[in-house]
Amino acid sequence: MSATVTTMLLVAVQCGLLLALAPVRVGLMRQVRARLEGRAGAGVLQPWRDLAKLARKEPLRAPGVRFGGALPVLLMGASLLLVALLPLLQTATLVAVPDDLFVVVSVLLLGTVAIALLGLDSGTAFGGMGASRHMTVAALVEPTILVAVYALSIPVGTSNLSAIVSARLDHPATVVAPVSLLALVALFIVVIAETGRLPVDNPSTHLELTMIHEAMILESSGRDLGWVEYASWLRLGALLALVANLAAPWGVVQHLHVLAVLIAMVALVLKVAVLGAAIASGEVFLAKLRLFRVPELLAGSFVLAFLAVTASYLTV
């Protein structure tokens, strides 16, 4: 088997794993939260059951809606591409599609634009407000992601994410260096903001005037809603897995072997489960920030990322 075919096979395994487990991760986070709040919870498989139910239902679209079913599918495509690009299981890359930092951020932005258009397309005031807020947050988030990963890329000398993960595997001392800690904290904050978790957005309610994500998908229904939810979960799963892999790169396949791939899969599932459970238990203690305080949080994370860059010149 040639190297390209093997890499493509691994990318397919990675996509399949995340597709299968993204709803389970959401279920796990809801379950952890429910238990901590003293509720029984619906079980970790409830998101899958919701998806199955939504997939059977016919979407209702308002008469003026232009793009209808195309945007949810575009969003899903962007999320899938993101999963395929990120070095989650292995550090080998396809030559044709490099998992360069800038490619990854632009794919992320593609999904952001798709969901914002979806909010605008419905023609309601809520959708437009949600889209405008989402773009505001995105405009503050994207530079921070770029700067934070740039800080991690300085010691490696390339903006290729696979090379960064692989270099961190080879030199474990760089993982706990101050540069890497600052950059990871900044990255974590922006991932939380980008995927609409507390304290930036409340994922568990339709009933707040300042909501972001729910405002945009308020008018979606049936299959459309199913795609949008699935794509958003996949996106959060992929970004969490990236943060987990940068924070603890152990388990990622470097030398191809069936056993190594299995270990990498188990390690990835464990890392994402631990991180997801930690976020869910943190969210119990958090209230949503006022919308006008959100830029403060994001500016803070930008400065952390910026300091990480300056600090990386300190120790080179």
Binding site: L304, L307, A311, T315
Partner: protein
Amino acid sequence: MTDAGFTQVLGSCAGVLILTAVLQLWRRSLSGSVTLLALQGAALSALIGTIGVAAADPELIGVAVLVLAIKAVAIPIVLGRTAAATGARREDAPRINPTAALLLSAVLTTVAYLASRPILGAAPDAAQRAVPVGIAVVLIGFLLLLTRRQAISQLIGFVVLDNGIAMIALLTAGGVPLVVELGVSLDVLLVVLILRVLTGRLKHVFGATDLDDLTELHD
């Protein structure tokens, strides 16, 4: 201590110093600011101690202990008591909002790096590479002094400024004599004590510690 280990510890201490300075701009609660100031003093002391151990200089280690006692323990305790005595809990309305202040601190850090380029020379060693961080801490201390309204937060800005100056002096000169550091640190402690008394008077006369009340002359 190995060379790489020395660089790592030095980098971590400098990182904590600048991080605590930036977080001062972010935090509004005064007790949080005082805790950050204590942390910053401890980081400065650790920085001096690291250089002292690397240079096997007992005088520098003495300076580190002195700085730990004054800047990480004495000054934060005095400031914490002042805050408790005057009842001031939060810095409610700084002159520029925290978002702008945080972004400004990024600009100041860049300025510090650009400004310190001529000082560093062609081949800076690990200690000299941390000089821009010291300059950035000084600039952020100035920013705190300029933008805060509460007397106690201005005091905190002053101590941050002094921490930055101490850091630059240490890193460029490769160490400070014990007598000099003793003089400077006791001076700072004295200033903090005097300003504590003044803050108490301010509270007594105006009922608040907002320095904007001090714009008119009275008999």
